[in-house]
Symmetry: C2
Subunit: 204 residues, 2 copies
């Protein structure tokens, strides 16, 4: 069972008071069950089913995660780290601008597409500070800004290209890919258009 792997490294946010041992165990079981359920049935899957899979009462799930978005947020934790790692890798790689952005956008769409409905969740949280996922969006915006700035420093970006707008556009592509059930690679033509739209046209 994959339950073991993450049950060992008790998943908890850095600066929070420690949970009682049994509570921590339940929290981990819920997260494992949620990850599996989201993967199979998408982010709209029944919370009751997740509780049952995790072998806990429904109330326990709600105690740990008052809303569905809180649960999604927790499940997204490792996922945000992966994106930050990708960002760093691309910036360090020193690839030519177009290749760097192609790589970055592709990974972005791939990462955002882990669960059906995850892309849509992200989009609606992006401008909603009240959403539990809002912070995760900030991380994405920051990573995207970092990558774009590194390309801008090479003079490859058109004037007036705003990282926020690019982020929205790419999220839109991720969402299209998600709801049309496109393979990640099938998003490439759309991403290519965006690239042509933000990169300085080849100069003689």
């Amino acid at each position: 069972m994959s339950a073991q792997a993450s049950a060992q490294s008790s998943e908890q946010s850095a600066a929070e008071k420690p949970l009682r041992a049994d509570a921590q165990r339940n929290r981990d079981k819920i997260l494992d069950a949620a990850r599996a359920a989201f993967r199979e049935r998408g982010a709209a899957c029944s919370l009751d089913e997740i509780a049952k899979r995790a072998g806990v009462g429904a109330g326990t799930l709600y105690r740990h995660f008052p809303t569905r978005d809180d649960l999604i947020d927790a499940v997204m934790r490792d996922w945000a780290e992966r994106i930050q790692a990708d960002c760093q890798a691309v910036v360090d790689s020193d690839l030519p601008p177009r290749m760097a952005l192609t790589e970055w956008f592709n990974r972005f769409v791939e990462n955002v597409g882990i669960y059906q409905g995850a892309a849509a969740k992200l989009m609606s949280a992006m401008d909603d500070p009240a959403s539990p996922i809002y912070r995760k969006c900030q991380v994405l915006v920051a990573a995207n800004t970092t990558v774009l700035d590194s390309v801008r420093a090479k003079g490859a970006l058109r004037d007036g290209v705003d990282a926020r707008e690019v982020m929205r556009l790419v999220s839109g592509v991720a969402s299209v890919a998600d709801s049309s059930r496109l393979a990640p690679a099938e998003a490439a033509p759309m991403l290519a258009i965006i690239l042509d739209g933000i990169l300085e046209p080849d100069r003689p």
Copy 2:
């Protein structure tokens, strides 16, 4: 009441056997109620509430519209006509390419954004022939192709730009605008990027 307007011009698709008078009246009442409810609460609003608003039994709603998508499809009827009209207007206008496409994309996003969740519905129906909304998507794809072809004829489009991909991209923008609750005008920067991505860069 706005109910009167559309109750007079009994809304029925061209080639279908006529309904009994009372059935036709109920159908119209349901559509009016659905339009109002979708506008207020979005495309995910309770069907039961729509039936109540329309003053019919729940079963009557299901008799006329077996699935939620069938109802959405019917509500979208006049909406698709509006898009086709916009398409024709833009093609006939003989505006310079960039202005023509700006106009077209803006209207597209505006039209698709009538109801919360409508854009998402469209996206997922685009590649799903089994969906009742699929036909409506075909209309949109056709209109979009017409506009793009008219611009291509002027040599303003980059080589290899596919109408289908552009349609997907713009739907994605509409979806972002929808779920982030952006005003239609706020989609302009994203649309500008797409324009730069598909138009031939200015030549000296």
